[in-house]
């Protein structure tokens, strides 16, 4: 019995960190490859989650729904919608300086959150959308959870293969060139704006897909779930700790930081009872301090970026 509990916790843990790994890979395309600072991750995540939820839930008088789509098409639409929003934002903001883009992306995240909170016909407002169906339902709890983990792992593998290929391709090389020296890339005749836009949109699409996975995993979503803290900050810490620019690092960082984050939960369980309401803040404090330590002592992360060697020509 103990063992079953432990195993089901392990499956839960791996699934959730796997979803974060998808997010970290998406952020790596934007930040690691292309050097674009997005702190509106929560916004794209929420767009993906809500799209998937609305397309798959049964009809409800409280929010838009009743389409009854299966998982994959709805997740693809979720990715597409996140990409479209990123494209619209990107057309305006992508050629801004890094720090300005950062400020603009908080604004986007904030506006998306306001819309989700206030447009009740669409999202049921603060009460959220319940009863999001799980893929593979009706196969029993354990098998269902296991198959869902399989789905998450498959997503990581597909996304990893995709972005790793992109990183090694000439496209990835141009991204690195733009990140390191924009005037030089421009002088070499590269359409800088277009390359940056492509990276921004691709990253957002990956986040949208991850958001769809999250909606099905959680079964219930509300604007609270897309607190900039969990959605945005943790993904950033994961990528920086793992090694920005390195796709394996991004995945590794996601699992490592989520393990630490869950670990702090056990730690705060030992706090005196009157501290229980503040346990969340203690955990955030610890992770915030960890980020500062990483930035000061090892800013390149666990696995530093290794640019692929240029092909030798005879």
């Amino acid at each position: 019995m103990e063992l079953v509990g432990l195993l089901s916790f392990l499956v839960f843990f791996l699934t959730l960190s796997g979803i974060y790994a998808v997010m970290a890979l998406g952020l790596n395309v934007q930040w690691g490859f292309s050097g674009q600072f997005n702190i509106g991750i929560a916004g794209f995540w929420a767009v993906g989650s809500y799209t998937a939820a609305i397309l798959t839930t049964p009809e409800s008088p409280f929010h838009l729904g009743g389409f009854g789509w299966p998982f994959l098409p709805s997740a693809l639409v979720a990715a597409l919608l996140a990409a479209v929003i990123a494209l619209l934002i990107g057309l305006i903001c992508v050629n801004l300086r890094t720090d300005y883009l950062a400020i603009a992306t908080i604004g986007i995240g904030e506006i998306i959150r306001l819309v989700l909170k206030n447009e009740e016909w669409l999202t049921n407002g603060v009460r959220g959308i319940p009863a999001i169906p799980r893929p593979f339902s009706g196969l029993g709890r354990e098998l269902e959870a296991l198959l869902f983990l399989g789905l998450v792992v498959a997503t990581i593998l597909v996304v990893y293969a995709l972005v790793e290929r992109a990183r090694r391709s000439p496209w990835g090389r141009v991204q690195r060139a733009i990140r390191e020296n924009e005037p030089a890339a421009l002088a070499a005749g590269k359409n800088v704006l277009r390359f940056r836009l492509e990276a921004f949109v691709l990253g957002a699409a990956i986040m949208g897909f991850g958001g769809a996975l999250y909606a099905h995993f959680a079964g219930f979503i509300s604007p609270e779930a897309f607190d900039p803290l969990f959605a945005t900050f943790l993904v950033w810490v994961m990528l920086i700790a793992g090694g920005s620019g390195n796709n394996i690092g991004a995945v590794l960082g996601a699992f490592a930081i989520w393990a630490l984050w869950s670990g702090t939960q056990f730690m705060t369980a030992f706090l005196p009872i009157e501290w229980a309401a503040r346990a969340g803040a203690v955990r955030v404090l610890l992770v915030g301090l960890l980020l500062q330590v990483i930035l000061i002592t090892r800013p390149e992360g666990l696995l530093p970026e290794r640019p692929p060697r240029p092909a030798v020509r005879d």
Binding site: G35, F37, I39, I92, C93, L96, T98, D99, Y100, A102, I103, A104, I106, G107, I108, E110, I111, L114, K117, N118, L229, F233, W236, V237, I240, A277, R278, G280, A281, V282, V284, L285, V287, G288, L289, L291, Q292, L295, I296, P299
Partner: protein
């Protein structure tokens, strides 16, 4: 309609003063250290809670608590620079940006650990508004505006009359040129943190008087504060003040046509318009 407009403009000036006080620090820090300080909102929150220590447990009047909280937050800002940002002086500005984002969460969680997540007020007595015809004016608003104006005048004197203030403006304008002319950069950076922290605390206290204290107090206005700094032009303290007032009034007046829940969107729209059409701000900063 006209009455509404006047009423909203008065509210807008009060809120705008709060944005302006926050934006001066953001603008100077951005000009001198080259990064957008995402922890500025939470420094405002810190200042507001420090004032609570003086008016609450120590039962001091607000006119004592106010300068004490300003001094406390200035010290905290300097300590943060020594402990954290000084070690990152040579890192790229983006690393500083990420670090300040982390710092924002550290400050917020510390505040939550110490004071809890609930809404708190400084005092509970109700002050009736004055009536001028159909227009209502709340006495605290008058005090807040007066203190804001006094702080802006003091800031002006500091920036134009003292050596360190002049050095600060020179460095925000062109750091390399400032360094060549032998300005003691580390000392200027220290003073900038202290000044930014003190003004942020004033903004935070005003915000808490106007609404309620809670750990998200400052974070919630970070967007308009940044917008004000960008609107005024980075590194231009006077621009930031003008930007703050403009944005405050624009936000309040927008509620005539826009659902008030979308007020933050106004700040965002201003940011985007400024960045696209006039990236140097209205007054030609960087």
């Amino acid at each position: 309609m006209l009455v509404d407009l006047v009423q909203l403009t008065i509210f807008g000036l009060v809120v705008g003063g709060i944005f302006a006080l926050g934006a001066v620090g953001v603008s100077l820090l951005f000009g001198i250290l080259r990064f957008a300080n995402f922890a500025h909102g939470d420094m405002m929150t810190l200042g507001a809670y420090l004032a609570l220590v003086f008016v609450g447990p120590l039962a001091l009047p607000m006119w004592v608590a106010f300068p004490a909280a300003l001094a406390g937050t200035a010290l905290a800002a300097v300590a943060i620079d020594r402990a954290l940002f000084k070690r990152l002086r040579r890192a790229s500005p983006v690393i500083l940006l990420i670090s300040s984002f982390g710092l924002a969460l550290i400050l917020r969680s510390l505040i939550q650990i110490i004071w809890g997540p609930e809404n708190i007020v400084y005092w509970t007595d109700i002050v009736l508004p004055w009536r001028l015809g159909e227009i209502r004016i709340r006495p605290p608003h008058v005090v807040m505006l007066a203190v804001t104006v006094a702080l802006v005048v003091a800031l002006h004197l500091f920036l134009t009359r003292t050596r360190i203030g002049k050095a600060m403006r020179a460095m925000a304008d062109d750091p390399d040129l400032a360094r060549i002319t032998g300005i003691p950069t580390e000392r200027v950076i220290l003073w900038t943190w202290a000044l930014g922290g003190a003004l942020a605390a004033a903004a935070g206290i005003f915000l808490a008087v106007d609404t309620r204290l809670n750990p998200l107090l400052g974070w919630n206005v970070l967007l308009p504060v940044f917008a004000a700094a960008l609107l005024g032009g980075i590194g231009k303290p006077y621009g930031a003040i003008a930007g703050g007032f403009l944005l405050g009034v624009a936000g309040e007046v927008s509620t005539l046509v826009l659902d008030p829940v979308y007020k933050p969107a106004v700040a965002f729209a201003v940011i985007v318009l400024v960045l696209v059409y006039r990236p140097t701000g209205l007054f030609g900063g960087r």
